[in-house]
């Protein structure tokens, strides 16, 4: 059980990039709090297809300094907007295989409405604002960076 004190609140990083496997259990444990009755979490996995093409693998590249600052801003926004106790998000960088975890986000709250809303907010905002780019390799040998048009963006 964690009780954050005011000092920790200012120092703690709640968003991180990781170039190794994301440790879900440890992240989830950081959200434990006796005041929280609900915890919603999200995992983004590497799918074997995208827009009808078979995907063999991918890598994520980030502009690390800005990605970390913007990710932290997003989690801070979620803490301000929703009645949650805590929230965390980690995004992978580097080479990932099919099925690997690309992003994890979680939020704990007294009640489940806020936990779900905050978790969803963090995932949506990270996908649309944090400078991270996906490079996909396809079964047909082609490869390329994904730079979605706003109108082409799909929830994934």
């Amino acid at each position: 059980m964690n009780f954050r004190d005011e000092h920790d609140e200012r120092e703690m990083k709640r968003f991180a990039l990781s170039d190794t496997l994301i440790d879900i259990a440890s992240l989830r444990d950081t959200l434990l709090d006796a005041r929280a009755g609900a915890c919603a979490s999200f995992e983004g996995w590497v799918r074997d297809h995208n827009d009808g093409r078979t995907v063999r693998g991918l890598r994520y590249e980030a502009y690390a300094a800005l990605a970390e600052a913007e990710g932290e801003r997003i989690v801070d926004e979620a803490l301000a907007k929703f009645e949650i106790v805590d929230a965390r998000c980690v995004h992978r960088t580097g080479e990932l295989a099919i099925g690997e975890l690309a992003i994890w986000a979680g939020a704990s709250a007294a009640h489940r409405d806020a936990a779900f809303a905050a978790c969803r907010y963090i995932v949506d905002e990270v996908k649309s604002r944090v400078p991270i780019w996906k490079h996909e390799r396809y079964a047909d040998g082609a490869a390329g960076w994904l730079h979605p048009q706003p109108e082409q963006e799909k929830p994934a």
Binding site: G44, Y60, E61, A62, Y63, A65, L66, A67, A69, E70, H91, A102, I103, V123, V126, K127, S128, R129, V130, P131, I132, W133, K134, H135, G144, W145, L146, H147, P148, Q149, P150, A156
Partner: protein
């Protein structure tokens, strides 16, 4: 004349052939700096699809190019 470092990511880096470069530029603002890089490297992405950052924080295309700045052109992101 400003000396700046410019960072290229994702498809911009592939097109430029470098992840970063040091430049001496007379571009008055970030918009002009991007347009000259776009002409030089043949970037496919028009400026209205990008964002720009200076020294690790988002900036505006109309901001002046400051000497010693680190400028990053941010193509549409695709994390998650």
């Amino acid at each position: 004349m400003a000396r700046v470092t410019v960072l290229y990511f994702a498809s911009l880096r592939d097109a430029a052939g470098v992840a970063s470069e040091r430049l001496e530029t007379e571009a008055p603002d970030l918009r002009t700096l991007y347009e000259s890089a776009r002409t030089r490297y043949g970037f496919a992405l028009p400026i209205d699809r990008l964002r720009v950052a200076v020294d690790g924080a988002f900036a505006k295309w109309g901001d002046p190019v400051r000497d010693g700045g680190e400028i990053a052109f941010i193509p549409p992101v695709s994390g998650g």
